[in-house]
Protein backbone atom coordinates (compact mmCIF):
# COMPACT_ATOMS: atom_id res chain seq x y z
CA UNK A 1 0.00 0.00 0.00
CA UNK A 2 1.37 3.44 -0.90
CA UNK A 3 0.71 6.89 0.44
CA UNK A 4 -0.99 7.66 -2.82
CA UNK A 5 -3.47 4.86 -2.19
CA UNK A 6 -4.36 6.16 1.22
CA UNK A 7 -4.90 9.60 -0.16
CA UNK A 8 -7.17 8.23 -2.85
CA UNK A 9 -9.18 6.40 -0.25
CA UNK A 10 -9.61 9.57 1.80
CA UNK A 11 -10.74 11.41 -1.22
CA UNK A 12 -13.35 8.78 -1.97
CA UNK A 13 -14.71 8.99 1.54
CA UNK A 14 -15.03 12.73 1.33
CA UNK A 15 -16.82 12.59 -1.96
CA UNK A 16 -19.40 9.95 -1.06
CA UNK A 17 -20.15 10.89 2.48
CA UNK A 18 -22.82 8.40 3.53
CA UNK A 19 -25.92 9.91 5.02
CA UNK A 20 -25.95 9.75 8.78
CA UNK A 21 -28.17 6.83 9.78
CA UNK A 22 -31.20 8.29 11.48
CA UNK A 23 -33.72 5.55 12.12
CA UNK A 24 -36.35 8.16 13.00
CA UNK A 25 -36.47 9.30 9.41
CA UNK A 26 -37.34 5.78 8.40
CA UNK A 27 -40.32 5.53 10.71
CA UNK A 28 -43.90 5.88 9.69
CA UNK A 29 -44.93 9.33 10.88
CA UNK A 30 -48.23 7.89 12.09
CA UNK A 31 -46.40 5.48 14.36
CA UNK A 32 -43.69 7.94 15.34
CA UNK A 33 -46.22 10.54 16.46
CA UNK A 34 -48.36 8.04 18.31
CA UNK A 35 -47.94 8.50 22.06
CA UNK A 36 -47.05 5.33 23.96
CA UNK A 37 -49.82 3.88 26.07
CA UNK A 38 -50.30 5.84 29.30
CA UNK A 39 -49.60 2.76 31.35
CA UNK A 40 -46.15 2.25 29.90
CA UNK A 41 -44.60 4.65 32.38
CA UNK A 42 -45.86 2.53 35.26
CA UNK A 43 -44.06 -0.50 33.98
CA UNK A 44 -40.83 1.44 34.32
CA UNK A 45 -41.54 2.56 37.87
CA UNK A 46 -42.71 -0.86 38.96
CA UNK A 47 -39.61 -2.67 37.73
CA UNK A 48 -37.60 -3.81 40.72
CA UNK A 49 -40.26 -2.89 43.27
CA UNK A 50 -41.13 -5.59 45.76
CA UNK A 51 -44.41 -6.22 47.52
CA UNK A 52 -46.53 -4.27 45.06
CA UNK A 53 -50.27 -4.87 45.23
CA UNK A 54 -51.70 -4.48 41.80
CA UNK A 55 -55.11 -3.09 41.00
CA UNK A 56 -53.68 -2.29 37.61
CA UNK A 57 -54.24 -5.48 35.72
CA UNK A 58 -56.85 -5.79 33.01
CA UNK A 59 -57.14 -9.54 33.20
CA UNK A 60 -58.61 -12.22 35.45
CA UNK A 61 -56.45 -13.45 38.33
CA UNK A 62 -57.78 -16.97 37.81
CA UNK A 63 -55.73 -19.29 35.66
CA UNK A 64 -57.61 -20.76 32.71
CA UNK A 65 -59.86 -23.57 34.06
CA UNK A 66 -57.96 -26.83 34.01
CA UNK A 67 -60.28 -28.74 31.70
CA UNK A 68 -59.60 -26.13 29.01
CA UNK A 69 -55.84 -26.31 29.46
CA UNK A 70 -56.06 -30.08 29.53
CA UNK A 71 -58.03 -30.18 26.27
CA UNK A 72 -55.31 -28.10 24.64
CA UNK A 73 -52.55 -30.35 25.93
CA UNK A 74 -54.42 -33.39 24.64
CA UNK A 75 -54.77 -31.84 21.20
CA UNK A 76 -51.07 -30.98 21.14
CA UNK A 77 -50.27 -34.59 22.01
CA UNK A 78 -52.48 -35.58 19.11
CA UNK A 79 -50.40 -33.39 16.81
CA UNK A 80 -52.97 -30.70 16.02
CA UNK A 81 -50.38 -28.08 15.23
CA UNK A 82 -51.11 -27.09 11.62
CA UNK A 83 -52.78 -23.96 10.28
CA UNK A 84 -56.53 -23.82 10.36
CA UNK A 85 -58.61 -22.23 7.62
CA UNK A 86 -58.18 -18.45 7.55
CA UNK A 87 -61.57 -17.98 9.11
CA UNK A 88 -60.79 -20.40 11.92
CA UNK A 89 -61.93 -23.92 12.76
CA UNK A 90 -65.40 -24.48 11.39
CA UNK A 91 -66.38 -26.33 14.57
CA UNK A 92 -65.57 -23.24 16.60
CA UNK A 93 -67.42 -20.95 14.19
CA UNK A 94 -70.45 -23.20 14.39
CA UNK A 95 -70.44 -23.15 18.17
CA UNK A 96 -70.18 -19.36 18.14
CA UNK A 97 -73.07 -19.08 15.69
CA UNK A 98 -75.11 -21.40 17.91
CA UNK A 99 -74.45 -19.39 21.03
CA UNK A 100 -75.23 -16.13 19.23
CA UNK A 101 -78.57 -17.71 18.40
CA UNK A 102 -79.10 -19.00 21.91
CA UNK A 103 -77.88 -15.99 23.91
CA UNK A 104 -78.80 -13.14 21.59
CA UNK A 105 -81.40 -14.60 19.26
CA UNK A 106 -79.26 -13.61 16.26
CA UNK A 107 -78.52 -15.66 13.15
CA UNK A 108 -74.98 -15.71 11.82
CA UNK A 109 -73.80 -17.98 9.05
CA UNK A 110 -70.68 -19.75 10.34
CA UNK A 111 -69.28 -19.87 6.79
CA UNK A 112 -69.58 -16.21 5.91
CA UNK A 113 -70.33 -14.18 9.00
CA UNK A 114 -67.97 -15.48 11.66
CA UNK A 115 -64.22 -14.86 11.80
CA UNK A 116 -61.88 -16.20 14.48
CA UNK A 117 -59.16 -13.69 15.34
CA UNK A 118 -56.03 -13.56 17.44
CA UNK A 119 -57.71 -11.95 20.41
CA UNK A 120 -60.32 -9.22 20.21
CA UNK A 121 -57.42 -6.80 19.72
CA UNK A 122 -56.83 -8.13 16.23
CA UNK A 123 -60.54 -8.05 15.48
CA UNK A 124 -60.64 -4.34 16.41
CA UNK A 125 -57.72 -3.61 14.10
CA UNK A 126 -59.27 -5.64 11.26
CA UNK A 127 -62.62 -3.94 11.61
CA UNK A 128 -61.04 -0.50 11.12
CA UNK A 129 -58.71 -1.56 8.34
CA UNK A 130 -61.48 -3.31 6.47
CA UNK A 131 -63.86 -0.36 6.59
CA UNK A 132 -61.94 2.93 6.69
CA UNK A 133 -60.69 4.97 3.79
CA UNK A 134 -58.10 7.68 4.44
CA UNK A 135 -59.76 10.53 6.27
CA UNK A 136 -62.85 8.58 7.35
CA UNK A 137 -63.85 9.53 10.85
CA UNK A 138 -64.67 7.25 13.76
CA UNK A 139 -66.49 8.33 16.91
CA UNK A 140 -64.69 6.92 19.93
CA UNK A 141 -66.52 7.40 23.24
CA UNK A 142 -64.08 7.79 26.09
CA UNK A 143 -62.85 6.77 28.61
CA UNK A 144 -62.24 3.56 26.73
CA UNK A 145 -59.79 0.80 26.07
CA UNK A 146 -56.47 2.22 24.90
CA UNK A 147 -56.31 0.61 21.45
CA UNK A 148 -59.24 2.11 19.55
CA UNK A 149 -57.70 5.52 18.80
CA UNK A 150 -54.29 4.17 17.66
CA UNK A 151 -55.98 1.44 15.62
CA UNK A 152 -58.11 4.01 13.80
CA UNK A 153 -54.99 6.05 13.08
CA UNK A 154 -53.12 3.01 11.79
CA UNK A 155 -56.01 2.32 9.44
CA UNK A 156 -55.70 5.85 8.04
CA UNK A 157 -58.83 7.05 9.78
CA UNK A 158 -59.44 10.04 11.99
CA UNK A 159 -60.53 9.26 15.53
CA UNK A 160 -63.08 11.62 17.06
CA UNK A 161 -62.97 11.07 20.81
CA UNK A 162 -66.14 12.08 22.63
CA UNK A 163 -66.44 12.30 26.38
CA UNK A 164 -68.90 10.31 28.46
CA UNK A 165 -69.69 11.65 31.89
CA UNK A 166 -69.77 10.45 35.48
CA UNK A 167 -73.15 12.16 35.91
CA UNK A 168 -74.49 9.72 33.30
CA UNK A 169 -72.60 6.79 34.84
CA UNK A 170 -70.36 6.92 31.75
CA UNK A 171 -73.13 5.75 29.45
CA UNK A 172 -72.97 7.13 25.93
CA UNK A 173 -75.81 9.54 25.17
CA UNK A 174 -76.80 10.71 21.67
CA UNK A 175 -76.10 14.32 22.63
CA UNK A 176 -72.51 13.34 23.46
CA UNK A 177 -71.68 12.74 19.81
CA UNK A 178 -74.48 14.10 17.61
CA UNK A 179 -72.54 17.28 16.86
CA UNK A 180 -69.36 15.36 16.08
CA UNK A 181 -70.97 13.59 13.14
CA UNK A 182 -70.19 14.98 9.69
CA UNK A 183 -69.96 13.75 6.08
CA UNK A 184 -66.79 11.83 6.82
CA UNK A 185 -68.11 10.01 9.87
CA UNK A 186 -68.23 6.34 9.08
CA UNK A 187 -68.31 4.42 12.30
CA UNK A 188 -69.03 4.49 16.01
CA UNK A 189 -67.17 2.40 18.55
CA UNK A 190 -69.15 0.96 21.44
CA UNK A 191 -67.50 -0.92 24.30
CA UNK A 192 -69.91 -1.95 26.99
CA UNK A 193 -69.50 -3.30 29.62
CA UNK A 194 -66.78 -0.73 29.61
CA UNK A 195 -63.11 -0.85 30.42
CA UNK A 196 -62.13 1.28 32.40
CA UNK A 197 -65.37 2.59 33.93
CA UNK A 198 -67.43 -0.55 34.50
CA UNK A 199 -70.39 1.18 32.83
CA UNK A 200 -73.02 -0.86 31.00
CA UNK A 201 -75.67 0.19 28.50
CA UNK A 202 -79.17 -1.20 28.95
CA UNK A 203 -81.40 -1.97 26.00
CA UNK A 204 -83.13 1.40 26.49
CA UNK A 205 -79.80 3.23 26.56
CA UNK A 206 -78.72 1.49 23.35
CA UNK A 207 -82.00 2.20 21.59
CA UNK A 208 -81.37 5.95 21.82
CA UNK A 209 -78.00 5.40 20.18
CA UNK A 210 -79.49 3.14 17.52
CA UNK A 211 -81.88 5.87 16.38
CA UNK A 212 -79.00 8.24 15.73
CA UNK A 213 -76.89 5.50 14.13
CA UNK A 214 -79.68 4.73 11.67
CA UNK A 215 -80.32 8.40 10.98
CA UNK A 216 -76.66 9.07 10.21
CA UNK A 217 -76.04 5.76 8.46
CA UNK A 218 -73.16 4.71 10.72
CA UNK A 219 -71.38 1.42 11.10
CA UNK A 220 -71.04 0.28 14.72
CA UNK A 221 -68.01 -1.58 15.94
CA UNK A 222 -69.14 -3.08 19.20
CA UNK A 223 -66.51 -4.60 21.48
CA UNK A 224 -68.46 -6.74 23.92
CA UNK A 225 -65.65 -8.76 25.43
CA UNK A 226 -66.98 -8.19 28.97
CA UNK A 227 -70.53 -9.25 28.08
CA UNK A 228 -70.56 -12.23 30.45
CA UNK A 229 -69.46 -10.00 33.31
CA UNK A 230 -72.70 -8.06 33.64
CA UNK A 231 -73.88 -8.04 37.24
CA UNK A 232 -77.38 -6.59 37.26
CA UNK A 233 -79.56 -8.14 34.62
CA UNK A 234 -78.54 -9.55 31.29
CA UNK A 235 -76.22 -8.02 28.73
CA UNK A 236 -77.84 -6.57 25.62
CA UNK A 237 -75.79 -6.56 22.45
CA UNK A 238 -76.11 -3.60 20.14
CA UNK A 239 -76.67 -6.09 17.30
CA UNK A 240 -79.89 -7.24 18.99
CA UNK A 241 -81.63 -3.93 18.41
CA UNK A 242 -84.04 -3.74 15.56
CA UNK A 243 -82.29 -3.17 12.25
CA UNK A 244 -78.87 -2.99 13.89
CA UNK A 245 -77.50 -6.48 13.28
CA UNK A 246 -76.33 -5.70 9.73
CA UNK A 247 -74.81 -2.39 10.85
CA UNK A 248 -72.87 -3.95 13.69
CA UNK A 249 -69.54 -5.68 13.71
CA UNK A 250 -69.86 -7.57 16.96
CA UNK A 251 -66.50 -8.32 18.54
CA UNK A 252 -65.98 -10.69 21.41
CA UNK A 253 -63.55 -13.19 22.82
CA UNK A 254 -62.87 -15.60 25.63
CA UNK A 255 -60.11 -13.66 27.39
CA UNK A 256 -62.18 -12.14 30.18
CA UNK A 257 -65.08 -14.56 30.62
CA UNK A 258 -63.00 -17.75 30.52
CA UNK A 259 -59.78 -16.33 31.97
CA UNK A 260 -57.97 -16.95 28.68
CA UNK A 261 -56.11 -13.68 28.06
CA UNK A 262 -52.81 -15.23 27.05
CA UNK A 263 -54.38 -17.59 24.52
CA UNK A 264 -55.30 -14.77 22.16
CA UNK A 265 -58.58 -15.91 20.75
CA UNK A 266 -61.37 -13.59 19.75
CA UNK A 267 -63.98 -13.37 17.04
CA UNK A 268 -66.01 -11.07 14.87
CA UNK A 269 -69.65 -11.53 13.85
CA UNK A 270 -71.18 -9.39 11.17
CA UNK A 271 -72.31 -8.73 7.67
CA UNK A 272 -70.64 -11.10 5.16
CA UNK A 273 -69.22 -8.19 3.16
CA UNK A 274 -67.48 -6.70 6.20
CA UNK A 275 -66.43 -10.00 7.76
CA UNK A 276 -65.19 -11.05 4.32
CA UNK A 277 -63.11 -7.87 4.03
CA UNK A 278 -61.74 -8.42 7.53
CA UNK A 279 -60.89 -12.00 6.57
CA UNK A 280 -58.80 -10.71 3.66
CA UNK A 281 -56.67 -8.53 5.93
CA UNK A 282 -56.48 -11.33 8.48
CA UNK A 283 -55.37 -13.76 5.78
CA UNK A 284 -52.48 -11.53 4.73
CA UNK A 285 -51.34 -10.60 8.22
CA UNK A 286 -52.21 -13.32 10.73
CA UNK A 287 -53.15 -16.18 8.41
CA UNK A 288 -55.13 -17.80 11.19
CA UNK A 289 -55.58 -17.59 14.94
CA UNK A 290 -53.35 -20.00 16.88
CA UNK A 291 -54.69 -23.50 16.37
CA UNK A 292 -54.17 -24.64 19.95
CA UNK A 293 -56.02 -21.61 21.24
CA UNK A 294 -58.93 -22.36 18.93
CA UNK A 295 -59.07 -25.94 20.21
CA UNK A 296 -59.07 -24.65 23.77
CA UNK A 297 -61.83 -22.20 22.87
CA UNK A 298 -64.03 -25.05 21.65
CA UNK A 299 -63.62 -26.78 24.99
CA UNK A 300 -64.27 -23.54 26.87
CA UNK A 301 -67.50 -22.85 24.97
CA UNK A 302 -68.72 -26.43 25.17
CA UNK A 303 -68.04 -27.13 28.81
CA UNK A 304 -66.95 -23.92 30.48
CA UNK A 305 -70.30 -22.50 31.52
CA UNK A 306 -70.17 -23.52 35.19
CA UNK A 307 -66.72 -22.05 35.68
CA UNK A 308 -67.60 -18.83 33.89
CA UNK A 309 -70.54 -18.43 36.25
CA UNK A 310 -68.44 -19.26 39.32
CA UNK A 311 -65.82 -16.68 38.35
CA UNK A 312 -68.50 -14.11 37.69
CA UNK A 313 -70.03 -14.69 41.13
CA UNK A 314 -66.64 -14.19 42.72
CA UNK A 315 -66.03 -10.96 40.75
CA UNK A 316 -69.44 -9.79 41.89
CA UNK A 317 -68.49 -10.39 45.55
CA UNK A 318 -65.22 -8.54 45.08
CA UNK A 319 -67.05 -5.72 43.34
CA UNK A 320 -69.36 -5.27 46.32
CA UNK A 321 -66.44 -5.51 48.74
CA UNK A 322 -64.30 -3.00 46.88
CA UNK A 323 -67.11 -0.49 46.29
CA UNK A 324 -68.14 -0.58 49.95
CA UNK A 325 -64.51 -0.05 50.96
CA UNK A 326 -64.13 2.89 48.56
CA UNK A 327 -67.26 4.36 50.07
CA UNK A 328 -65.74 3.99 53.53
CA UNK A 329 -62.61 5.81 52.35
CA UNK A 330 -64.75 8.60 50.92
CA UNK A 331 -63.52 8.15 47.35
CA UNK A 332 -66.57 8.90 45.20
CA UNK A 333 -67.31 6.09 42.80
CA UNK A 334 -70.48 5.10 40.99
CA UNK A 335 -71.36 1.44 41.24
CA UNK A 336 -69.86 -0.34 38.24
CA UNK A 337 -72.35 -2.72 36.65
CA UNK A 338 -70.01 -4.75 34.49
CA UNK A 339 -66.42 -5.82 33.69
CA UNK A 340 -64.06 -5.93 36.70
CA UNK A 341 -63.10 -2.31 37.19
CA UNK A 342 -64.02 0.46 39.56
CA UNK A 343 -63.35 4.03 38.46
CA UNK A 344 -63.25 6.24 41.54
CA UNK A 345 -62.83 9.97 41.31
CA UNK A 346 -59.68 11.38 42.90
CA UNK A 347 -60.46 15.02 42.11
CA UNK A 348 -60.96 15.74 45.82
CA UNK A 349 -57.30 15.07 46.53
CA UNK A 350 -56.20 17.96 44.32
CA UNK A 351 -53.89 15.63 42.41
CA UNK A 352 -54.05 14.79 38.75
CA UNK A 353 -54.73 11.17 37.82
CA UNK A 354 -51.10 10.59 36.96
CA UNK A 355 -49.79 12.27 40.10
CA UNK A 356 -52.17 10.23 42.21
CA UNK A 357 -51.29 6.93 40.57
CA UNK A 358 -47.57 7.62 40.60
CA UNK A 359 -47.46 8.74 44.23
CA UNK A 360 -49.70 5.88 45.33
CA UNK A 361 -47.36 3.44 43.68
CA UNK A 362 -44.18 4.99 45.06
CA UNK A 363 -45.44 5.62 48.57
CA UNK A 364 -47.76 2.71 49.26
CA UNK A 365 -46.89 0.27 46.51
CA UNK A 366 -50.35 0.01 45.09
CA UNK A 367 -50.53 -0.02 41.31
CA UNK A 368 -53.60 1.50 39.67
CA UNK A 369 -53.95 3.06 36.24
CA UNK A 370 -54.49 6.82 35.85
CA UNK A 371 -57.85 7.49 34.21
CA UNK A 372 -56.39 9.77 31.53
CA UNK A 373 -54.65 6.74 30.02
CA UNK A 374 -58.12 5.94 28.66
CA UNK A 375 -58.74 9.36 27.16
CA UNK A 376 -58.83 12.96 28.34
CA UNK A 377 -62.25 12.51 29.89
CA UNK A 378 -60.71 9.95 32.24
CA UNK A 379 -58.75 12.71 33.95
CA UNK A 380 -59.68 12.95 37.61
CA UNK A 381 -60.19 9.20 37.96
CA UNK A 382 -58.12 6.10 38.50
CA UNK A 383 -58.92 2.65 37.23
CA UNK A 384 -58.81 -0.06 39.86
CA UNK A 385 -59.21 -3.66 38.77
CA UNK A 386 -60.83 -5.90 41.35
CA UNK A 387 -59.78 -9.03 39.48
CA UNK A 388 -57.55 -9.88 42.40
CA UNK A 389 -58.07 -11.82 45.63
CA UNK A 390 -60.22 -10.37 48.39
CA UNK A 391 -57.21 -10.40 50.73
CA UNK A 392 -55.26 -8.28 48.25
CA UNK A 393 -58.19 -5.96 47.74
CA UNK A 394 -58.43 -5.34 51.49
CA UNK A 395 -54.69 -4.82 51.81
CA UNK A 396 -54.75 -2.39 48.87
CA UNK A 397 -57.60 -0.49 50.49
CA UNK A 398 -55.63 -0.21 53.74
CA UNK A 399 -52.72 1.22 51.83
CA UNK A 400 -54.90 3.65 49.89
CA UNK A 401 -56.35 4.74 53.23
CA UNK A 402 -52.86 5.46 54.56
CA UNK A 403 -52.00 7.28 51.36
CA UNK A 404 -55.08 9.50 51.63
CA UNK A 405 -54.34 10.19 55.31
CA UNK A 406 -50.79 11.25 54.44
CA UNK A 407 -52.12 13.52 51.71
CA UNK A 408 -54.56 15.15 54.11
CA UNK A 409 -51.93 15.61 56.83
Amino acid sequence: MTNGDIGAGKKRLAMEKPALWRPDSHLSTTVRDMPPSGIRKFFDIVVGMEDVISLGVGEPDFPTPWHIREACIYSLEGGHTSYTSNKGLIELREILAESAKEDLGLDYDPEEEVLITTGVSEAVDLAFRATLNPGDEVIVPQPCYVAYVPDVLLAGGVPRPVATRLSEEFKLRPEDFRDEINDRTKALVLSYPNNPTGAVMTREDLEEIADLVAEKDLLVISDEVYDKLTYDGKHTSFAQLEGMQERTVLLNGLSKSCAMTGWRVGYALGDPAIVGAMTKVHQYTMLCAPTMAQVAAIEALRRGEAEVMAMKREYDRRRRLFISELERLGLPCFEPKGAFYAFPSIVGTGLSSEEFAEQLLKEQKVAAVPGNAFGESGEGFIRCSYATSREEILEAVDRIERFLADLAA
Binding site: F43, S54, V57, G58, D61, V146, A147, R313, R320, L321
Partner: protein
Protein backbone atom coordinates in the same frame (compact mmCIF):
# COMPACT_ATOMS: atom_id res chain seq x y z
CA UNK B 1 -84.10 -14.71 40.83
CA UNK B 2 -81.23 -14.68 43.27
CA UNK B 3 -80.73 -17.63 45.57
CA UNK B 4 -79.49 -15.78 48.64
CA UNK B 5 -79.05 -18.91 50.76
CA UNK B 6 -76.77 -20.36 48.12
CA UNK B 7 -74.78 -17.15 47.81
CA UNK B 8 -74.25 -17.02 51.57
CA UNK B 9 -73.33 -20.71 51.71
CA UNK B 10 -70.77 -20.29 48.93
CA UNK B 11 -68.97 -17.64 50.95
CA UNK B 12 -69.09 -19.74 54.11
CA UNK B 13 -68.02 -22.91 52.37
CA UNK B 14 -64.88 -21.13 51.32
CA UNK B 15 -64.28 -19.37 54.62
CA UNK B 16 -66.00 -20.56 57.79
CA UNK B 17 -64.69 -17.51 59.64
CA UNK B 18 -66.50 -15.00 57.42
CA UNK B 19 -68.62 -12.87 59.74
CA UNK B 20 -72.22 -11.94 58.93
CA UNK B 21 -71.01 -8.38 58.33
CA UNK B 22 -68.39 -9.48 55.83
CA UNK B 23 -70.81 -11.79 54.07
CA UNK B 24 -73.37 -8.99 53.93
CA UNK B 25 -70.91 -6.80 51.99
CA UNK B 26 -70.01 -9.56 49.58
CA UNK B 27 -73.56 -10.55 48.70
CA UNK B 28 -75.12 -7.12 49.00
CA UNK B 29 -77.48 -7.66 51.95
CA UNK B 30 -77.75 -6.19 55.43
CA UNK B 31 -75.90 -7.82 58.31
CA UNK B 32 -79.23 -8.63 59.98
CA UNK B 33 -80.56 -10.35 56.88
CA UNK B 34 -77.43 -12.47 56.59
CA UNK B 35 -77.47 -13.31 60.32
CA UNK B 36 -81.09 -14.36 60.08
CA UNK B 37 -80.51 -16.51 57.04
CA UNK B 38 -77.51 -18.22 58.62
CA UNK B 39 -79.54 -18.98 61.74
CA UNK B 40 -82.27 -20.45 59.57
CA UNK B 41 -79.75 -22.59 57.67
CA UNK B 42 -78.23 -23.80 60.94
CA UNK B 43 -81.63 -24.68 62.39
CA UNK B 44 -82.60 -26.52 59.22
CA UNK B 45 -79.41 -28.58 59.44
CA UNK B 46 -78.08 -27.25 56.14
CA UNK B 47 -75.07 -25.81 57.94
CA UNK B 48 -73.78 -28.66 60.10
CA UNK B 49 -70.51 -27.37 61.41
CA UNK B 50 -67.84 -24.66 60.92
CA UNK B 51 -64.56 -26.37 60.21
CA UNK B 52 -60.93 -25.71 59.43
CA UNK B 53 -59.27 -27.37 56.48
CA UNK B 54 -55.97 -28.70 57.78
CA UNK B 55 -53.14 -30.26 55.88
CA UNK B 56 -52.12 -32.69 58.64
CA UNK B 57 -49.30 -34.06 56.56
CA UNK B 58 -47.44 -30.78 57.10
CA UNK B 59 -47.19 -31.33 60.83
CA UNK B 60 -47.00 -35.10 60.70
CA UNK B 61 -49.97 -35.99 62.86
CA UNK B 62 -48.84 -39.61 63.01
CA UNK B 63 -52.15 -40.96 61.80
CA UNK B 64 -52.74 -43.32 58.93
CA UNK B 65 -55.81 -43.13 56.75
CA UNK B 66 -57.57 -45.78 54.73
CA UNK B 67 -60.46 -45.98 52.33
CA UNK B 68 -62.48 -49.13 52.95
CA UNK B 69 -64.98 -50.55 50.49
CA UNK B 70 -67.65 -53.02 51.57
CA UNK B 71 -69.90 -55.48 49.85
CA UNK B 72 -73.06 -55.87 51.81
CA UNK B 73 -75.94 -58.33 51.61
CA UNK B 74 -79.25 -56.86 52.60
CA UNK B 75 -81.98 -58.36 54.69
CA UNK B 76 -85.59 -57.84 53.90
CA UNK B 77 -86.29 -55.48 56.78
CA UNK B 78 -82.93 -53.68 56.86
CA UNK B 79 -81.73 -51.43 54.04
CA UNK B 80 -78.30 -49.91 53.51
CA UNK B 81 -79.12 -47.13 55.95
CA UNK B 82 -79.01 -49.45 58.93
CA UNK B 83 -75.50 -50.71 58.31
CA UNK B 84 -74.20 -47.35 57.07
CA UNK B 85 -75.47 -45.59 60.17
CA UNK B 86 -73.97 -48.27 62.36
CA UNK B 87 -70.55 -47.79 60.75
CA UNK B 88 -70.91 -44.03 61.06
CA UNK B 89 -71.06 -44.25 64.85
CA UNK B 90 -67.43 -45.34 65.18
CA UNK B 91 -65.27 -42.33 66.01
CA UNK B 92 -62.46 -43.83 63.91
CA UNK B 93 -64.65 -43.46 60.84
CA UNK B 94 -64.49 -40.08 59.13
CA UNK B 95 -66.90 -40.38 56.25
CA UNK B 96 -69.37 -43.00 55.06
CA UNK B 97 -70.96 -43.16 51.65
CA UNK B 98 -73.31 -45.43 49.74
CA UNK B 99 -71.77 -45.93 46.33
CA UNK B 100 -72.55 -47.47 42.95
CA UNK B 101 -70.32 -50.02 41.25
CA UNK B 102 -68.55 -53.12 42.51
CA UNK B 103 -68.97 -52.18 46.15
CA UNK B 104 -71.89 -50.88 48.12
CA UNK B 105 -70.46 -48.76 50.89
CA UNK B 106 -67.22 -46.80 51.07
CA UNK B 107 -65.87 -45.24 54.24
CA UNK B 108 -62.68 -43.56 55.37
CA UNK B 109 -61.05 -44.45 58.62
CA UNK B 110 -58.26 -42.91 60.68
CA UNK B 111 -55.98 -44.89 62.98
CA UNK B 112 -52.68 -44.64 64.81
CA UNK B 113 -51.01 -47.30 62.68
CA UNK B 114 -51.70 -49.61 59.77
CA UNK B 115 -52.13 -52.42 62.24
CA UNK B 116 -54.57 -50.36 64.25
CA UNK B 117 -56.69 -49.68 61.14
CA UNK B 118 -56.45 -53.26 59.92
CA UNK B 119 -57.66 -54.58 63.29
CA UNK B 120 -60.48 -52.06 63.35
CA UNK B 121 -61.68 -53.23 59.96
CA UNK B 122 -61.38 -56.94 60.66
CA UNK B 123 -62.77 -56.82 64.19
CA UNK B 124 -65.41 -54.13 64.05
CA UNK B 125 -66.52 -53.95 60.45
CA UNK B 126 -65.96 -57.32 58.79
CA UNK B 127 -67.86 -58.96 61.61
CA UNK B 128 -70.98 -56.85 61.19
CA UNK B 129 -74.02 -58.75 60.05
CA UNK B 130 -74.51 -58.37 56.30
CA UNK B 131 -70.89 -57.44 55.47
CA UNK B 132 -69.76 -59.90 52.84
CA UNK B 133 -66.30 -58.59 52.11
CA UNK B 134 -64.02 -55.65 52.83
CA UNK B 135 -61.32 -54.10 50.73
CA UNK B 136 -58.96 -51.72 52.54
CA UNK B 137 -56.84 -49.15 50.65
CA UNK B 138 -54.28 -47.29 52.75
CA UNK B 139 -53.78 -43.68 51.77
CA UNK B 140 -50.16 -42.97 50.83
CA UNK B 141 -50.44 -39.31 50.01
CA UNK B 142 -53.24 -36.82 49.68
CA UNK B 143 -53.21 -34.29 46.84
CA UNK B 144 -56.55 -32.61 47.21
CA UNK B 145 -59.16 -32.63 49.96
CA UNK B 146 -62.53 -30.88 50.02
CA UNK B 147 -61.70 -29.02 46.82
CA UNK B 148 -58.42 -27.69 48.20
CA UNK B 149 -55.12 -28.58 46.54
CA UNK B 150 -52.59 -29.61 49.17
CA UNK B 151 -49.35 -29.53 47.23
CA UNK B 152 -47.40 -26.30 46.99
CA UNK B 153 -46.60 -24.94 43.61
CA UNK B 154 -45.62 -21.38 42.72
CA UNK B 155 -48.15 -19.52 40.61
CA UNK B 156 -46.81 -17.75 37.54
CA UNK B 157 -46.86 -13.99 38.04
CA UNK B 158 -49.11 -11.64 36.10
CA UNK B 159 -47.84 -8.34 34.78
CA UNK B 160 -48.48 -5.62 37.32
CA UNK B 161 -50.12 -3.16 34.95
CA UNK B 162 -51.94 -3.98 31.73
CA UNK B 163 -54.56 -2.21 29.67
Amino acid sequence: MRDLAKEILEVLEENARATPGEIATLVGLSEEEVGGEIKRLEDAGVIRKYMTMINWEKIDDGYVYAIVELKVSLHRDKGYDAIAERISRFSEVQSVRLISGDHDISFTVRGKSMKDVAFFVTEKIATLEGVESTCTHFVLKSYKEHGVILYDRAQPKRLVVTA
